[in-house]
């Protein structure tokens, strides 16, 4: 009844083993290159046989990703990668499934699919490349573009409020939420590894520069000269401290977070301390709201909690029904309960 058991490759793999023959066709200078390189770098370290890895994507610049990975891959239709992945993972819980999507693919046309996959806690990893623009259709504003964004489709500024991907994932009940950015090789690798390890949906937002249609959209945040003052690097159990001189912190004033200067006599133990394993969503919710220029932008793992996964529940039901009723007998099933002979 099941998938035939096949030999599993045991050879040690290197980054090169994950590079496909397909020529990479992103614009030179695109942030996607570095994300691809870092995913390929991390893959051999996961100790997963290459044949058990599947990259699934939708439509958009980022969604070309599977073609460049020498693993199994499905480049699907716009917005629906989470649904394709749901079928695949339920059919084959043994596979390591990675979804690559973008702000348009995942949060506009595919908002519903992403929402429900997160809610179900399917055990897959989502890499959402957020460049706050539609690249493949040549530069219209996206659901994460700031209000007032002037693009070809909004010559007088976009009227929409942007969507916060982290709050979206959190509200859907995501069990693993993290953010990283395309020029931070070390940060990306760490998070990709943690995402792969997490049981349940791992949702990773990656700030990605589209140098053609939205160049520098994140520069104010992660430009090397200002980065340490504008980014809050999350570490479990450590207080919220940031700044080149590590002299700024965040504490709660009533229900409101505020940035404080540690040189002003504020004591470190007044600061908020990161707890990524907290089951409630309060801290993750607070972090998701931090944005430039009022707050430093958090990078790292916001939330990581254990929960049962969708496919595991389905497997459990099958197991328990077989225990209860025995393996189904087709003849009996076809006969039903009220057969008669003529």
């Amino acid at each position: 009844m099941n998938i035939p058991v096949k030999p599993v490759s045991t050879v040690e793999l290197s980054k090169a083993d994950f590079v496909s023959k397909q020529t990479v066709r992103w614009c030179p200078g695109c942030g996607d290159y570095s994300i691809l390189a870092n995913v390929q770098k991390v893959m051999p370290e996961l100790n997963i046989p290459r044949e058990n890895i599947v990259f699934v994507s939708g439509i958009g610049c980022s969604s070309r990703f599977p073609y460049y990975m020498n693993t199994y891959g499905l480049h699907t239709i716009h917005g629906r990668a989470p649904a394709f992945a749901t079928g695949l993972k339920v059919a084959r819980p043994d596979l390591s499934v990675w979804i690559v999507t973008g702000d348009g693919d995942g949060l506009s046309i595919g908002g519903n699919q992403l929402l429900h996959m997160l809610r179900r806690n399917l055990d897959v990893n989502v890499l959402l490349f957020n460049n706050r623009i539609y690249g493949l259709t040549k530069g219209q504003y996206s659901p994460t573009s700031e209000q007032g964004k002037v693009t070809k489709s909004t010559p007088f500024g976009s009227p929409d409020m942007p969507l916060n991907p982290m709050l979206f994932a959190l509200s859907a009940g995501a069990t693993f939420i993290a953010r990283t950015f395309d020029v931070d090789a070390k940060g990306m690798q760490e998070i990709f590894k943690e995402a792969a390890k997490h049981k349940g949906t791992s949702f990773v937002e990656i700030y990605q520069n589209c140098n053609i249609f939205n160049d520098g959209t994140f520069s104010a945040i992660y430009e090397r000269s200002v980065r340490e003052d504008r980014i809050l690097r999350l570490k479990h159990g450590k207080p919220f401290i940031f700044g080149k001189e590590q002299n700024k912190g965040i504490r709660l004033n009533g229900l409101k977070p505020e940035v404080v200067d540690l040189r002003d006599g504020v004591n470190e133990n007044e600061l908020l301390v990161h707890d990524q394993y907290s089951r409630d969503r309060i801290l993750a919710n607070l972090l998701s709201g931090f944005d430039y220029p009022d707050f430093p932008v958090p990078m790292g793992i916001f939330r990581q909690v254990e929960n049962s996964t969708y496919e595991e529940k389905i497997e459990e039901q099958i197991k328990s029904q077989i225990e209860k009723k025995g393996v189904g007998n087709l003849e009996k099933l076809l006969r039903g309960n009220h057969a008669w002979t003529n």
Binding site: M1, E51, I77, T86, G87, L88, Q113, L330
Partner: protein, 625 residues
């Protein structure tokens, strides 16, 4: 006036005279009442009893789209038809011999289908002024004389039921709910049926609620006794057992047959089954049914929407399981983009489409055959898909197996077109021998030597199915055009044209793999009636009759709609005239005209109900005036 005002108090049993039994070849009965009156249950029980008595039985439930429209209104009427016969039957009868109505609304909605002189059983307790107003009667039909053409039997069913169940101490509300079993008791007596089977069924069904079981049995018995003692009827009717081909039978609906077919396909292919769908009338029962078969390894997903249902099915097919989804009406539109993707990625997925009245939300609970052209052409680009259509409820089982056979062999999505009639209608079905079912073992490719996802079987053009978990076969599939040799992305104009032709040719080659056409009647004749889907039932009944009467008419029923079977053009051209009765505006006739340049004449019906035998008969007879 022929109405019998039955007394409340039953006469003593000893006063019972010998009521004559009339032998009938066939009879048709309809139970009609409010959605909450339990008419579907009553009808199902009566058909089960008739089946056990050896009749051929065809059932046809008709229920409103609203779950509980206000009680007593016309919108809330629900009914259940069954035809029983001592010969083989293929469709429910045009007119009813017996109509049971539980309220004025049911009377108003159904009276036109009762034959003149037919028996009309009425629950007279529900003809108060208020009931009449809700049914939009200005005058009480029990008094107006408008029922004079029928044999009216008024019974105070509600009061008698309450009296019968009194001893159980049930609340008034629960007591009233037993009245459907009272009416069933009356009809069981009328058709000389034993109550044993129904009693057993009630006791089993309500085994956790013994007081409800007891009350229902009491109501059933009370109805039966009431009919005995009151001489309500001048005759009882006996429909003798039918001479059906010998074998083991069960009753089956189209949706059940689909579900069983899916499980059978899983076992015959050695692949686990994954059914992903979004709830939609009238296809939801397939999901309900399959969700119960976890011990067969069946996995079901209730997807978040129709698009996700289709997409997750394709994802699961990539993973190497038997992928199937079900839908209806607007759901097919929503699935069309993803079906096109499955054409492009060449992955095996079966789409069960239970057609209903459209466009848009249309008539959710009624039958139509209006999705044929959508199944054929409803996708952008050249996206050919095999299309199949079962003829009867039981045939749904075999068409699912056939759909999987084609999907796996040719690596393609396949659409199966059922309809709201087949989905819920039931018929006796010969239980198939499991070993005789087609072998669906498919070759999942495992050899890395010279592997390309574009390698094909040179005969079928079916692409190699290589699934994740197989070392050395890592490959990418997508919706972008592929190179005909390597399977990598290729946008070159010549390559695209080659790929379009190849995908087309692959579906055309299925023709060679189909059984030959089977004509009902002579190969050359004056008139050929061509049908597909559920029109088989009424058309076959008509053609049988007309052929016996000597009319030069033949019939051809198509279960393969894309591609058509071999020699169809030649067959059509052997007839002077070709008539295509369809529950649409001529979709098959258009295909036949376009494909074979024959003058296929369309005969349409779009009332959300099957053709009547007389409608097809009269249309056919016009050719012989």
């Amino acid at each position: 006036m022929s109405s019998v005002e039955a007394p409340l108090r039953a006469k003593s049993v000893s006063s019972q005279v010998n009521i004559p039994k009339t032998e009938l070849e066939k009879a048709s009965i309809r139970f009609a009442g409010d959605s909450g009156d339990g008419m579907q249950l009553t009808g199902t029980r009566f058909s089960a009893t008739s089946v056990m008595a050896g009749n051929d039985v065809i059932t046809f439930p008709d229920y409103p789209a609203e779950i509980r429209a206000p009680a007593g209104t016309l919108a809330g009427v629900s009914s259940f038809d069954l035809s029983i016969s001592s010969n083989e039957i293929y469709t429910t009868a045009d007119f009813l011999s017996v109509l049971v109505v539980m309220n004025p609304a049911a009377l108003k909605m159904n009276l036109q289908d009762l034959e003149k002189g037919g028996i009309l059983i009425i629950n007279s307790d529900s003809f108060e002024e208020n009931d009449l107003r809700k049914a939009e009667y200005s005058e009480n039909p029990l008094e107006s004389g408008e029922l004079n053409d029928y044999r009216v039997v008024q019974i105070p069913i509600t009061k008698l039921t309450l009296r019968a169940v009194e001893e159980t101490g049930l609340s008034h509300r629960d007591g009233v709910r037993c009245k459907n079993f009272f009416s069933l008791g009356v009809v069981q007596w009328l058709f000389v049926r034993s109550l044993d089977q129904t009693r057993d069924w009630i006791e089993d069904k309500f085994k956790n609620k013994p007081e409800i079981a007891k009350a229902n049995v009491l109501a059933l018995q009370a109805g039966y006794n009431y009919a005995i003692t009151t001489e309500l009827f001048q005759a009882r009717y006996n429909v003798p057992p039918a001479v059906l081909p010998s074998g083991e039978y069960r009753q089956i609906t189209g949706n059940q047959a689909f579900s069983l077919g899916c499980v059978a396909a899983s076992l015959r292919s050695g692949l686990s089954l994954l059914y992903s769908s979004y709830p939609i009338t009238p296809a939801s029962d397939i999901l309900h049914e399959l969700a119960q078969y976890k011990n067969f390894g069946v996995k079901t997903i209730q997807a978040e929407d129709e698009i996700a249902a289709m997409s997750s099915s394709i994802g699961s097919a990539f993973g190497g399981v038997l992928a199937v989804t079900g839908t209806s009406g607007p759901g097919l539109d929503l699935k069309s983009e993803a079906i096109g993707y499955a054409v492009m990625a060449e992955l095996p997925v079966v789409v069960l489409n239970v057609q209903r009245g459209g466009p848009s939300t249309g008539l959710p609970t009624k039958a139509e055959q209006t999705d044929l052209l959508a199944a054929m052409y409803g996708r952008h680009g050249e996206a050919p898909v095999p299309v199949l259509a079962p003829a009867t409820p039981g045939d749904c089982f075999y068409m699912v197996l056939e759909a999987f056979r084609l999907a796996l062999k040719y690596m393609t999505p396949v659409i199966v077109l059922s309809d709201g009639g087949l989905a819920n209608a039931s018929e006796p079905w010969i239980i198939p021998d499991v070993d005789q079912l087609p072998d669906l073992t498919s070759n999942i490719h495992t050899d890395p030597e010279n592997f390309s996802p574009s390698n094909r079987n040179p005969e079928t053009l079916g692409r190699n199915w290589a699934i994740p978990g197989t070392p050395g076969l890592e490959h990418r599939l997508g919706g972008l055009e592929k190179d005909i040799v390597t399977g990598e992305i290729n946008y070159e104009p010549e390559n695209h044209e080659k790929m379009v032709l190849l995908r087309d040719e692959k579906i055309r080659r299925i023709v060679k793999d189909l059984p030959p056409l089977e004509l009902i009647g002579p190969e050359k004749n004056e008139l050929l009636v061509v049908t597909w889907g559920s029109v088989f039932g009424p058309a076959f009944s008509v053609i049988n009759e007309l052929q016996t009467e000597g009319y030069p008419v033949s019939m051809l029923h198509l279960r393969h709609l894309n591609p058509f079977q071999e020699k169809l053009g030649e067959v059509l051209r052997n007839f002077k005239k070709v008539l295509v009765p369809e529950m649409n505006l001529g979709q098959l006739s258009r295909l036949l005209r376009a494909e074979y340049l024959v003058d296929a004449i369309s005969f349409s019906k779009l009332q959300g109900r099957p053709f009547l035998i007389s409608e097809i008969r009269n249309r056919v007879l016009e050719f012989f005036d």
